[in-house]
């Protein structure tokens, strides 16, 4: 301990003697560490943003769409046939044990009118379970109830964008809006969710009871009055997703009387999986950015090695003297290793501060989410110490194994 404290003092003195040289050497590490911190911060910020978006869709979400059907060899597009119904939704909810909730949805574009204002938006006919599945909360008022759905009540829930455009800052709850000449009482406003992972405004929406939507607003499908545009399904747990998909597939095939060997007339998609792929790609990007930044850290390490070799040569006589008065191999090794690590750690600390500042500036000016975790700071700290040990070892070893006679005679 005594010796290490002594070594640190000697190291600091040696570094102070060549201020400019030490500063320039440190600069390599400073830039390397700052780059790693900032780049990993940018990567982590992107990942966090995608995770947030996944959260905004709802958890454990599976979507069932009416599928492509082929009739006499002609294949029709997905959703062209009203193959999925509200009854399917009920059956899935009751008969598939891995499914928690289902929410059948119909949708269409509508013009919503309030007083002198009007706004074109997307109307969705849904059931109250939709709110649970999509993890919606209410900004004001209430979501409509199952009774409202059964009674085809003329009630509506507005997304925040719609509320803003029609009502400005005043509270729309209890007011009446007109859709296709039908007056709807506003039951409440949804808490905003922001952009979807695909960039759509998730708050530009008006939710109606599915019964009212088909009967009064969007018009029923002529082939099947109970047809739905899509079916959102929430599995019991993330682990039950695959099980739920299998259960639904066999149930729907049975209900739709599809013979073995025939194609499904529906499509089941695991939404979470799609966005997890995006998340993974963001993580890969952040690893890549970190790796590129690490290269500059290694270059900084080579700079340390270079300057330590110069230092060993310059101080050959000092090394010889220390050996003559009793310094052992490990004493000299320790002295130069401590010097290299002091350089790299000082650089590392300054680099961390600089990297943090850079990521704050990136967030602020480029409006780009960054997230610097304590772990990445710790890693940068440890890594810069390791760079010092790794690149300092060779020069230190060279110093430690100098021949004392040669070293004392060195001019």
């Amino acid at each position: 301990m005594n010796k290490i404290v002594g070594s640190i003092r000697i190291a600091l003195r040696a570094l102070r003697v060549n201020r400019m040289r030490s500063a320039l050497t440190m600069l390599g590490i400073i830039i390397g560490v700052a780059a790693v911190i900032a780049m990993v911060g940018v990567g982590a910020g992107a990942t966090a943003r995608i995770q947030e978006q996944i959260q905004s869709i709802g958890s454990n979400l599976i979507i069932v769409l009416p599928g492509s059907v082929s009739t006499n060899g002609v294949r029709l597009g997905s959703g062209a046939v009203a193959s999925l119904t509200q009854d399917d939704a009920k059956a899935i909810a009751t008969e598939c044990p891995s499914v928690a909730l289902t929410a059948p949805t119909v949708r269409g574009g509508v013009q919503v009118v309030y007083g002198n204002n009007n706004w074109a938006t997307n109307a969705q006919g849904v059931t109250p379970d939709y709110m649970t599945i999509r993890d919606y909360t209410m900004l004001s008022g209430q979501f409509f109830t199952t009774q409202d759905v059964d009674a085809a009540a003329k009630t509506a829930v507005l997304g925040e964008t719609v509320a803003q455009n029609l009502f400005g800052d005043s509270d729309p709850t209890g007011q009446v809006v007109i859709i296709k000449n039908v007056p709807f009482t506003v039951a409440g406003v949804l808490t905003p969710k922001g952009q979807s992972p695909t960039g759509q405004d998730q708050d530009d929406v008006i939710l109606l009871p599915i019964s009212t939507a088909t009967q009064k607003v969007l018009g029923a499908n002529k082939a099947n009055a109970k047809a739905v545009a899509s079916l959102m399904v929430q599995a019991m747990s993330p682990q039950a997703m695959d099980q739920a998909i299998q259960e639904m597939e066999s149930l729907l095939r049975e209900r739709h009387k599809i013979l073995p060997g025939q194609d499904d007339d529906f499509t089941i998609r695991n939404l979470t999986e799609v966005f997890q792929a995006q998340e993974t790609s963001a993580q890969v990007m952040s690893i890549l950015l970190g790796a590129i930044a690490s290269v500059s850290l290694i270059v900084g390490g080579i700079g340390i090695m270079n300057i330590m070799l110069v230092s060993v040569t310059e101080r050959t006589r000092e090394i010889g003297l220390r050996q003559a008065v009793g310094a052992k191999t490990r004493d000299i090794l320790l002295q130069f290793l401590v010097e290299a690590v002091t350089l790299s750690l000082l650089g590392g600390i300054i680099g961390i501060v600089l990297g943090l500042t850079a990521s704050v500036l990136i967030s602020h000016f480029a409006n780009w989410a960054t997230q610097v975790s304590p772990l990445s700071i710790l890693l940068a700290f440890v890594f810069s110490a390791l760079v010092g040990v790794f690149f300092g070892y060779y020069p230190a070893r060279k110093a430690a194994f100098l021949d004392p006679i040669e070293a004392l005679r060195y001019e």
Binding site: R13, L321, Q323, V325, G326, K328, L408
Partner: protein, 251 residues
């Protein structure tokens, strides 16, 4: 008196390319504890090589070297470092002080490689500086001291570990005659009052007259080993020097 150094049939060869060069060709002698010995000889006589071996900086090719009864010939690098640390004090021609480092810290250097606690290190360094007449210069750096003062710091450094022998390699080579006398006076006092064995390597016959015993080398062999019955007194010679000038101390 017991011998502090015993050398028997010491041989040292160097390989210069393919041709071996015999630098020391079988040397035997003993040095008694408390003696003051000058080792002399022209360059190429092997006295530097002998000095390196005596100082445990180098190992003999063959032959025995006992320092304080310890056979040094088959010790490894770190064991030799420890012997140097505990038993030998070095004084060099070029002082070899650490620049930008205070006198105290320079003197403490050998103790840095022992387990001596910091306050004891300071205390011993202070005493050693006092012993060479540098009390009050503890915080001066080498660049603020004259050549003679720097050499005295180096002597204090060689003393600080209470060594068995002090090895001085041309200690007056870089100093003027007055300062040389001052250094020799310090050596004589340490030798007589503290009983420290002194070994001075020099090519200056004048310096050798202050020691008790002169050993001459030539061509790697011991040529002459004579004991001086009446060594000169450096202190008296110093007093007889005309017009003592006050020493200049750069501030």
């Amino acid at each position: 008196m017991a011998s502090v150094i015993e050398i028997k049939d010491l041989v040292k060869d160097y390989k210069l390319g393919e041709v071996p060069v015999h630098v020391l060709k079988g040397i035997s002698f003993e040095i008694e504890r408390g003696d003051f010995v000058s080792i002399m000889g022209p360059s190429g006589s092997g006295k530097s090589t002998l000095m390196n071996i005596l100082g445990c900086l180098d190992k003999p090719t063959s032959g025995a070297y006992l320092l304080d009864g310890i056979s040094v010939g088959n010790l490894n690098r770190d064991q030799l470092a420890e012997i140097r640390n505990k038993k030998i004090g070095f004084v060099f021609q070029q002082f070899n002080l650490l620049a930008r480092t205070s006198a105290t810290e320079n003197v403490e250097l050998p103790l840095m490689y022992t387990d001596t606690p910091a306050n004891e290190r300071h205390e011993r360094a202070r005493k050693a500086l006092l012993a060479v007449g540098l009390g009050g210069r503890e915080e001066h750096q080498p660049s603020q001291l004259s050549g003679g003062q720097q050499q005295r710091v180096a002597i204090a450094r060689s003393l600080v570990n209470n060594p068995s022998i002090i090895l001085a390699d041309e200690p007056t080579g870089a100093l003027d005659s007055r300062t040389s006398l001052e250094i020799m006076a310090i050596f004589q006092r340490l030798n007589r009052e503290e009983g420290i064995t002194m070994i001075v390597v020099t090519h200056d016959p004048d310096v050798a007259t202050y020691s008790n015993r002169n050993i001459h080398f030539k061509d790697g062999r011991l040529q002459l080993d004579e004991r001086l019955e009446q060594p000169r007194e450096a202190r008296k010679d110093l007093e007889q020097l005309p017009a003592e000038q006050p020493e200049e101390i750069p501030s």
